[in-house]
């Protein structure tokens, strides 16, 4: 089994450690890794802000870049959803449509890939801490991934996993929404962090660095106890990779 890495912007420039954790786990599980160095951004921030024309060439570039790979795996639900779900809404060149169709079937978010494709549900290791899980919106509602990350978390024998109240409530990030509607976004993350705090968890695990950046930003600034942890980081810590 070979996978190509899709490293979204935030993972490249701010959360490279989490992306590296993903690499180490894939490697640990004996999955061969390709890294296409010429990848840039999938175009999601511009798309969500209403700019479609501008990202068509970027999407086309992405499709060509990854066309020949067996599987593509990303440490992000929302960037995966951008490629799998929303590229289809763009006026992509007709000759690339078959490649897009096939791409949308072979691109996966990391936890989804491990469970559904690689069939690895028993990672093991040790992480004796109380954790809770935040459903990121696009992962849950555009990709329908809910149980996969939870199965991976529960597979760590000594972990204390608790569900928070309303784990599927939006953290308020929403990309450019978080600065365009900064006040509303803050009110949303405040509420989310309240649920996290109430669960008594030391770590809130998620599959999207963007949500985790938003959540941890609020937790830190407001001296709350929990810390955010990418699911890849959790598994890597658990296995001591």
């Amino acid at each position: 089994m070979r996978v190509a890495l899709f490293i979204p912007c935030l993972s490249e420039h701010m959360f490279a450690d989490s992306a590296m954790s993903m690499v180490k786990i894939l490697d640990h599980l004996g999955i061969a890794i390709d890294y296409v160095e010429d990848q840039t951004c999938c175009g999601q921030p511009a798309f969500n802000s209403g700019y479609r024309k501008e990202i068509i060439p970027i999407a086309e570039r992405f499709i060509k870049l990854f066309a020949d790979h067996q599987y593509i795996v990303a440490p992000s639900g929302s960037c995966t959803a951008m490629v799998r779900v929303f590229y289809k809404e763009l006026d992509i060149a007709a000759e690339l449509k078959p490649a897009l169709e096939s791409l949308s079937r072979k691109i996966f978010e990391f936890s989804e890939f491990l469970v559904d494709v690689a069939g690895k549900t028993d990672i093991g290791g040790s992480f004796p801490h109380r954790v809770t899980y935040h459903d990121s919106c696009h992962l849950l509602r555009e990709l329908g991934v809910k149980e996969q990350p939870r199965r991976l978390i529960r597979s760590i024998p000594d972990i204390d996993f608790v569900e928070m109240e309303k784990p599927d409530t939006c953290c308020g990030f929403g990309g450019t929404f978080s600065y365009k509607m900064a006040e509303v976004s803050l009110a949303m993350v405040a509420r989310k962090c309240g649920y996290i705090e109430a669960s008594g968890a030391e770590y809130v695990v998620g599959a999207d660095s963007s949500c985790l950046m938003n959540i941890e930003g609020y937790l830190r600034k407001n001296n709350m106890r929990a810390r955010a942890l990418h699911i890849a980081d959790l598994l890597a810590k658990s296995l001591n990779l």
């Binding site: 890495l5 490293i7 912007c9 993972s11 490249e12 420039h13 701010m14 490279a16 450690d17 992306a19 590296m20 690499v23 490697d27 890294y35 160095e37 010429d38 990848q39 840039t40 951004c41 175009g43 511009a46 798309f47 969500n48 802000s49 209403g50 700019y51 479609r52 501008e54 990202i55 970027i58 570039r61 809404e89 919106c137 696009h138 509602r141 599927d168 409530t169 939006c170 990030f173 929403g174 929404f177 978080s178 600065y179 365009k180 900064a182 006040e183 509303v184 976004s185 803050l186 009110a187 949303m188 405040a190 509420r191 950046m213 941890e216 930003g217 609020y218 830190r220 600034k221 407001n222």
Partner: protein, 469 residues
């Protein structure tokens, strides 16, 4: 109360400062959601019902033109007088003319969002016609000269303490916050008006082309009195409410109350099939239906966004919206609020006035997940955002920023160089300083850029792996 969606940012700001409002809205929406979930859990075919309703609306709208003609013909057969209005102004003039002709001085109304679209109460009052809302929530917001803050619960933003004070101030009754007493106060006043009014105005939930009839769904029996006691009944109906027949109605009559208030069934479903008949001597002497377009046929013709007309106004998307829950309905600045509202605002009012509305969303999709007729609200919001940008209504700085970024994203070397820069630059800043994005940081820290970046880390790791063999 004069609101405009163009001012939504200042309304949002004000709402977020209003702790009482936030508590009231949060409590009401959470209660409704919980009751809804309890009922949905008892219905194993809930998902199938949602798709059935979606298909029923889709089919009905596909044949709307023929259905409307059939509806008009059958209404006439039943003795219902049908009026057509292209827009709000035409609708108001038709209604006023009818009232002058029939010498109507007092009107009772049951809840109707479509008439809110027409600002009908103010218009009639300006023309010397007394108009009274008879739904309890509507009655309360009318006393305050406000518009409803929720599709099904107009006074959702108020607590019973608020209502007690409003009744005390506006009606001169002793203060009480006992819901039963408050209800009795309103009821006593409304009864007299029901008996005195010459006309009752209602909305329409579902209309049926094949029988020339329609129904009005409610819980307080005020609509029942509105459509049956006064001499004339006028129903104002958005043209998208029409179904070919009653075959899908059973599904809708489950989906609507469960989604709205978590009730298994509405307390009253009033079927109206014409005026009083010779044999049974009850009900109004005249029944009129005003079919309103007001932008709907434009949405109907728009294959990309037509789905937004499927809405049955249950309000579930408001209840579940993490933004609505904290700001209530007035922050959106129009009669339709919350997730479905922000899809309708730019479509009804135009891209300029509605240019902010589709951006009042984190695109989380909880609205789509809960919608009883499966409207994919977040996807429609994205299309609307696109149109607003296409119409040149986005900020210049954003437009050029995105163009610049798009230029770079096609050139990986240049992209890498430019995106490497902030990480390097941030290294020069004190440790707790994050990259500037105004507003974001008031109560949020932002992680620092990783100046090494994934690419370099990966290369190092790879080398190590290879050297290890």
């Amino acid at each position: 109360m004069n609101l405009s969606p163009g001012n939504t940012k200042s309304y949002l700001h004000a709402a977020l400062q209003n702790e009482r409002l936030r508590v009231a809205v949060d409590k009401a929406t959470q209660t409704a959601l919980k009751k809804r979930q309890d009922k949905v859990d008892q219905i194993p075919v809930w998902e199938e019902m949602r798709w059935q309703a979606h298909a029923a609306k889709r089919d009905a709208l596909e044949h709307l033109a023929e259905n409307l003609e059939t509806f008009e013909k059958n209404c006439q057969t039943n003795g219902i007088i049908v009026h057509w209005a292209r827009d709000g102004e035409e609708a108001r003039q038709i209604i006023l003319r009818l009232m002058l002709e029939k010498n109507v001085k007092q009107v009772v109304k049951s809840k109707s969002l479509t008439t809110e679209e027409l600002h009908l109460n103010h218009f009639l009052q300006d023309n010397g016609i007394e108009t009274l809302e008879t739904d309890l929530g509507e009655y309360i917001v009318q006393l305050l000269d406000q518009i409803p803050s929720h599709l099904t619960a107009p006074a959702l933003h108020l607590t019973r303490v608020d209502v007690g004070k409003i009744f005390h101030e506006k009606l001169g009754v002793p203060y009480t916050e006992d819901p039963h007493e408050l209800l009795q106060i309103a009821r006593a006043r409304l009864r007299q008006k029901f008996l005195a009014a010459e006309m009752g105005i209602s909305g329409v939930n579902f209309a049926f082309a094949d029988s020339g009839s329609f129904c009005v769904v409610e819980n307080e029996a005020n609509a029942f009195l509105t459509v049956s006691l006064p001499r004339i009944h006028l129903a104002v109906m958005g043209l998208e409410k029409l179904l070919p027949d009653q075959s899908g109605l059973g599904t809708f009559l489950k989906l609507l109350p469960i989604s709205a208030t978590g009730q298994k069934a509405s307390s009253y479903v009033n079927f109206i099939g014409g005026p009083r008949r010779q044999r049974c001597g009850e009900g109004p002497e005249e029944v009129h239906v005003l079919i309103l377009d007001n932008g709907r046929s434009r949405i109907l013709a728009d294959s990309q966004l037509r789905e937004t007309l499927f809405c049955i106004r249950c309000g579930a998307c408001l209840n579940v919206c993490p933004i609505y829950q904290q700001v209530g309905g007035h922050a959106y600045g129009w009669v339709y609020m919350g997730p479905i509202g922000i899809t309708l605002i730019p479509q009804y009012l135009g891209s300029l006035e509605g240019r902010y509305a589709p951006f009042v969303s984190s695109l989380c999709g909880a609205c789509h997940e809960i919608c009883p007729v499966h409207i994919n609200i977040p996807h429609h919001l994205l299309k609307l955002r696109h149109r607003i940008v296409d119409a040149g209504l986005s900020m210049k700085v954003e437009k050029w920023g995105i163009r610049g970024w798009a230029f770079l994203a096609k050139r990986p070397r240049l992209y890498r160089f430019v995106t490497w820069f902030p990480g390097k630059f941030q290294q020069l800043l004190p440790k707790e300083t994050a990259f500037p994005a105004p507003g974001y940081f008031k109560k949020r820290a932002l992680g620092r850029f990783d100046h090494t970046g994934f690419r370099n880390r990966y290369r190092t790791w790879r080398k190590k792996i290879i050297s290890k063999g």
